[in-house]
Amino acid sequence: MPDSRVLAAIVAVGLASYAMRAGGFLAAGAIPPRGLLERLLRLAPGNLFVAFAAAGILEGGWPSLVGCLGAVATMAATDREWAALGAGFAAAALASAVL
């Protein structure tokens, strides 16, 4: 059984996740097509992902940087998420062994 803190985190994040999935359907009228909010929602993911990657690389060091480069290059070349995850994992392991 999960402990209470972990369970609270799962429930809270799960509710937030479902709210995003159902919220757009329920509040469709409040998100005008081609409005500022709609633009921000579309522009945000790439910037958030880059910021997350930068902080993660700072924390993880060279293996994380090499792993990210391997994963991104493989994804760009193959468009296969599973292949990119595998390549990133292998690149990070290799960098950790060598550097």
């Binding site: 359907f25 579309r42 993911p45 997350f52």
Partner: protein, 234 residues
């Protein structure tokens, strides 16, 4: 489910079957991702039921990876919720579009289906509608194999008898980051992406070094998004 007719909402068993079969390959591809997530959860020290619950209740690779990156002995729930909202806000746009397609389907039918909404099932359903086969059964049918792959993969990954050591252990700690960076090519819009992305990375690095990593993604991503919006990106 009912057969389709002119006055009936578009939610049919035949479309469910079509969507299910079309999305079967996702059992494997989502399964691989789920296995990786399960291994990462075990590396974090989460028990089997907690790991499976994360994938069952949250069911979002991006949100799970980001919250995994924020994990401490005492999970920062507020930061995790904000991070989940920020990374999954794109679903608001997808959901608003689905309302245009399925506004005539009762909410008691649509709201449970939306729990399984994924980028891929949305794309497949929209493509199906553009071919003249608008049906919420297809959205549900295509979502089920994706969920089976993700949740089953997480369980399998957690149960695998592997204990990463040395370089493999270092690579295992990299996995949450990997889930996010593989999405970058899908967001790349050519050289125009560079200035806001540089701002995002720079602000994130400063925040990570001062306030801590919990808020680096939100503040860095927010700054980059602001740059994109101010210069008129569509």
């Amino acid at each position: 489910m009912r057969s389709s007719g002119p006055a009936r909402p578009p939610f049919t068993a035949s479309a469910f079957r079509r969507g299910f079969v079309a999305a079967l390959p996702f059992v494997v591809s989502n399964g691989v991702g789920g296995v990786v997530m399960g291994v990462a959860y075990r590396g974090l020290g989460l028990d089997f039921s907690s790991a499976v619950l994360w994938s069952l209740v949250v069911y979002s690779g991006t949100a799970q990876a980001v919250t995994l990156g924020l994990w401490t002995t005492s999970p920062p729930i507020a930061a995790m919720v904000v991070a989940c909202v920020a990374t999954n806000a794109r679903y608001l746009v997808l959901g608003a579009h689905l309302r245009q397609l399925f506004g005539d389907v009762p909410r008691r039918v649509m709201l449970p289906i939306l729990a399984l909404l994924a980028d891929a099932s949305w794309l497949m359903t929209v493509a199906e509608a553009e071919r003249g086969r608008r049906d919420a059964g297809y959205l549900l049918g295509s979502g089920v194999p994706m969920a089976i792959g993700w949740i089953g993969g997480t369980a399998l990954g957690h149960a695998l008898p592997v204990a990463p050591r040395g370089p493999l252990a270092v690579a295992a700690t990299f996995l949450p980051l990997a889930f996010v960076v593989v999405l970058l090519p899908t967001q790349w819009a050519g050289a125009r992406s560079l200035p806001p992305w540089i701002v995002s990375a720079a602000v994130a690095l400063v925040v990570a070094g001062t306030l801590g990593p919990s808020w680096a993604m939100l503040l860095g991503g927010g700054a980059g998004t602001l740059v994109s919006a101010l210069r008129g990106d569509a």
